[in-house]
């Protein structure tokens, strides 16, 4: 159990037998009343968003989870497929609720999966990742209107704005929280 006032973004909770991840937490202290927290949570099975208000002293059921590294293999229509590289055991994560993760999944890369009772409920995307540029238009000379950036498509389908000197085939480091270009990576 965890006190609502101690919940932070990223905490996993069990509400009505469904696993949720807290995506936003705001403390509200309506004047002279009790202290409350406003929680915004994502259901890790359905992707649905749940908003809830709790007193800071209320307790909620925290899920005990475990992080474990898995190699990403491929995606089919419904699931992402991963493999435990020690045991070669394969594991599936349903796409529902995790649709936006696909643009950060590179075949052969290792990701941490969040396991709850051996059930994978979340894919942790590294804060920064390197991607190859698969589609980029050549810069037009004198183009300063767009602030010296252009959109390019990366190997996973993710589109980010990069400086004009980036070419197709280059590798770039991207902040996966903001989808912002960080730098070009050599080799």
């Amino acid at each position: 159990m965890i006190r609502a006032g101690e919940i932070s973004k990223g905490v996993f909770l069990l509400i009505k037998n469904e696993p949720y991840e807290v995506v936003e937490r705001e403390f509200v202290n309506p004047g002279k009343g009790s202290a409350f927290v406003r929680l915004k949570m994502k259901n890790l099975r359905s992707g649905q968003v749940l908003k809830q208000v709790n007193k800071t002293h209320e307790t909620l059921e925290e899920i005990q989870v475990e992080d474990k590294p898995y190699q990403y293999l491929y995606a089919d229509d419904n699931s992402y497929h991963f493999m435990d590289t020690a045991t070669y055991e394969q594991i599936e994560v349903g796409k529902v609720g995790h649709e936006e993760k696909q643009q950060y999944l590179k075949e052969g890369n290792e990701y941490q999966l969040v396991l709850w009772d051996a059930d994978p409920i979340e894919i942790e995307i590294p804060y920064k990742m390197v991607f190859a540029v698969t589609e980029a238009q050549n810069a037009i000379k004198g183009d300063t209107v767009t602030g010296g950036t252009k959109p390019v498509t990366l190997e996973t389908g993710l589109v980010v704005r990069v400086p004009l000197f980036i070419k197709q085939g280059d590798r770039v480091l991207v902040n996966t929280e903001t989808n912002e270009y960080v730098e070009r990576v050599n080799s």
Binding site: E26, F27, P30, G31, K32, G33, S34, V53
Partner: protein, 316 residues
Amino acid sequence: MRQFFRDKGFLETDTPILAPFLIPEPSFEVFSTLRLSDGKEGQKLYMVPSPELWMKRLLASGASGSQDIFQISKCFRNSEPSSGIHLNEFTMLEWYARGRDYLYNTGLTEDLVIHLLEALGTDEKIKCRGTEVDLVAPFSRISMRDAFLQHASLDLDKCGETEELRKAAENRGISTMTDDSWEVLFHRIFLMLVEPGLPVDRPVFLSDYPARVRTLAKQKPGGQYAERWELYIAGIEIANCYTEAAGEPWIRDFFQEERERKNALCRVIHPADTELGEILSQGKLPPCSGTALGCDRLLMVLLGAENIQEVLPFRQ
């Protein structure tokens, strides 16, 4: 800010930061410290979360004569979240207008905001935390009952019983706990449906809180609502005002109940200022209306800062 109040004939006060007792307020934690006496641990002292206990004493004692009083001072609240709008050490403006009620202070607060805009040379249209706000007076005014009718389709007049309010909350998809009091249920609905629906494109005075949300505000005739407002700008609470309760026997019980809740809920426990409870319940406070305004928050809004830390010379 000082000039504004001096021009209106207010007397500036300066009251202690350290106090041996405080008004018990269970919704936040306070800071405590120890006074050394002959090198040994002596009395426990507490850093004030607002100057209210002292300013009300000044008014009740007659020390400030018949003048209105104001103060700009550092206040302290422990364990505040790092939310971009909370600080552990902050600057509060608090003023008491004698012989006036809470409605008088809406006008004065509007005038103050406009005065500060002019002093800063800032445009009336400001942008704060992604919201554009037009600071032209008059600001919006809405009563809590109307706000509940508009945003929760709920008539507070018809929800006097705890069970009625619980049903109303659950019908609106809000989960409740079996031991929720009327006040907690009210806040659950307020925070889920009403507060998010308040206009953010202009400042709003949200007024006439249910009397069951217990504060030191005077009750309106009928006893169901209290003469209290909160000012929201860009969705942020900026100021809180009451017509001050005095000469009411329930004030003594209020201090006692709040002390019990404080002791049950908070980590830092302090002696309650029961003397002030007596002063207020015996009606020694002259009729007045008091307002507390968070200066850092107001500055943040007027300057369009995204985070309250940006208006501080040193980050906390």
